[in-house]
């Protein structure tokens, strides 16, 4: 892959991702409406499809206020971090044969690295706001994301053991015959749960938990910076969906349709699943979240890795 080619692809992927985000916001609100037996946005344009654009205009024109008691530089950096890490994660996703930014031999680890850096955006946002609710949100985020990172990494190692490579492309190639979800079902489950926790989506949105700690880490944010957190969360959802598709659902593999469509469909289905989760599940308490992670997810991920390793060796 030449440099120009990959740069072009990078731009295309970025554009695709950025146009996907507003669409997702609309989709989520409509789907939530559907599942919760109400309308959702339906005034601006047909099916409320321009609602997002209206919201965007509102967010962009709002005063971008930095509280005087906040730690300015950190306050400004925090929302940028999440956008940066999420977009970097897309670099290693193989969309279709030949379409993808880069094939790293440590691609999977690169994704984990970026998701672990993503924790800073929430943590620093919470700290720099200098507000007790934000601080609590930041503390919760730090412990939640660090803990769930452990299981996330462990749940993926089963796939790595089976494929014998950290490269995303190799992993997709290896799923020609059978998708990894079959032999790695428990890995899939753990990764999905950990993924939801990592991007702190509902029901694991403990760091922001409006009903307990106002809006947690982004209480003090407004305008564009708030928008970045907001968009970052949606992009995070897409990343996790895309990575799950790649690692467990056979990536672009599928009959009849062109690879890129298969990839898109699978990712889309997963995104809808995440939205369904939000519609269907209540938020757990913080200590429940932690003990669920350490007492259920960790043993499950370890057992999965152990069994996979044993089978591969034998």
């Amino acid at each position: 892959m030449s440099f120009q080619g990959s740069a072009l692809l990078a731009i295309l992927v970025l554009l695709g991702v950025f146009t996907a985000a507003p669409g997702l916001i609309w989709l989520e609100r409509r789907l939530l409406g559907l599942w919760q037996d109400r309308y959702g946005p339906n005034r601006v344009g047909p099916f409320g499809i321009f609602q997002v654009i209206a919201d965007m205009v509102k967010i962009l024109t709002k005063e971008d206020w930095i509280p005087p008691f906040a730690d300015r530089p950190v306050f400004v950096i925090a929302p940028g971090v999440i956008i940066f890490t999420v977009l970097m994660s897309f670099a290693v996703v193989p969309v279709a044969p030949g379409i993808g930014v880069v094939d790293l031999n440590v691609g999977l680890l690169f994704f984990l690295a970026m998701s672990s850096l993503g924790a800073y955006s929430v943590v620093l946002g919470g700290w720099s706001s200098n507000n007790k609710y934000s601080l609590l949100g930041g503390l919760r985020a730090a412990s939640q994301m660090i803990s769930y990172e452990v299981f996330m990494g462990l749940s993926l190692m089963g796939v790595v053991v089976m494929t014998g490579s950290f490269s995303m492309w190799d992993i997709v190639m290896a799923q020609q015959g059978m998708w990894n979800i079959v032999p790695q079902f428990f890995g899939f489950v753990v990764f999905l749960v950990a993924g939801v926790a990592e991007m702190h989506r509902l029901p694991f949105d403990i760091p922001e938990a409006e009903s307990e700690i106002v809006a947690g880490f982004h209480s003090e944010y407004s305008g564009l910076k708030f928008g970045m957190f907001f968009v970052g969360e949606y992009l995070g959802m897409v990343v996790v969906a895309a990575i799950t598709t790649t690692l467990f659902l056979g990536g672009w593999h599928g009959p009849w349709l062109p690879p890129i469509v298969w990839f898109g469909l699978k990712t889309f289905a997963l995104v809808c699943f995440f939205i369904l989760l939000r519609a269907g599940l209540p938020r757990p308490r913080f200590d429940q979240l932690m003990s669920y992670g350490w007492k259920v997810m960790l043993p499950l991920a370890l057992a999965n890795l152990l069994v996979t390793g044993a089978i591969v060796v034998l």
Binding site: D71, P73, V74, I77, L104, N105, V106, L109, F110, L112, A113, S116, L117, A119, Y120, V123, L124, G126, W127, S128, L135, G138, L139, A142, S143, M145, I146, S147, E149, V150, G153, L154, G164, S165, F166, M290
Partner: protein, 190 residues
């Protein structure tokens, strides 16, 4: 690659200088993270992609988060930065700087004398590192496990919060507070 190496080196040095001169702990930590990230880039340039990513995941992503976590618990406000500024009189740097300079000159001299070999880094892929870890160094991995166990037990014991003992009475406080300590999140698997 070579250019990337030198740029990353410059960034690493600059960021590290910022770390040791900041007064606000979180700012210093952010610079430290930048420094670690640029060291990761350097690892990549040196043909060691595996440790490059580990540097980000574990060093920048886990150990440093632990630092932030503790800083949030301590809630060091602007006063502590003020205090730090008073302590950090520029003159204080002179002595240690001279000492370190001597150390550095020694190192530079020695490195120039010793290894005048230009080498082209061969990429040592994760697979090779993994195979090496689990064959030759498998005992080392076990020992590293025991090391982490010591760290875990130690952090649990030392970081444990407990009720203050009542004066005069000799109540043994136990068990009740074993769950309340959130700072046992150090069980990172390497």
């Amino acid at each position: 690659m070579v250019t990337a190496f030198y740029i990353a080196s410059a960034v690493a040095i600059a960021a590290t200088i910022m770390v040791i001169t900041r007064t606000q702990a979180v700012h210093a930590l952010l610079y430290l993270i930048v420094s670690l990230l640029s060291v990761a880039v350097i690892f990549f340039c040196l043909g060691a992609p595996f440790v490059a990513v580990l540097e980000i995941i574990i060093y920048a992503g886990a150990i440093m988060v632990l630092f932030v976590f503790v800083m949030m618990l301590l809630n060091l406000g602007p006063e502590s930065a003020q205090q730090e500024r008073q302590w950090l009189n520029p003159r204080m740097y002179i002595g240690p700087a001279v000492l370190s300079l001597v150390l550095l000159i020694e190192l530079v001299y020695m490195i120039n004398q010793g290894l005048a070999t230009v080498y082209s880094p061969t990429v040592v892929a994760p697979r090779e590192v993994g195979i090496s870890l689990f064959t030759t160094y498998v005992l080392g991995v076990e020992l590293a496990g025991m090391l982490l166990l010591a760290g875990l037990v130690g952090a649990f014991h030392l970081g444990r919060r407990r009720e203050r003992r009542e004066h005069g009475t000799d109540t043994t406080t136990q068990a009740a507070d074993t769950e309340s300590s959130p700072n046992v999140t150090v069980g990172e698997d390497s």
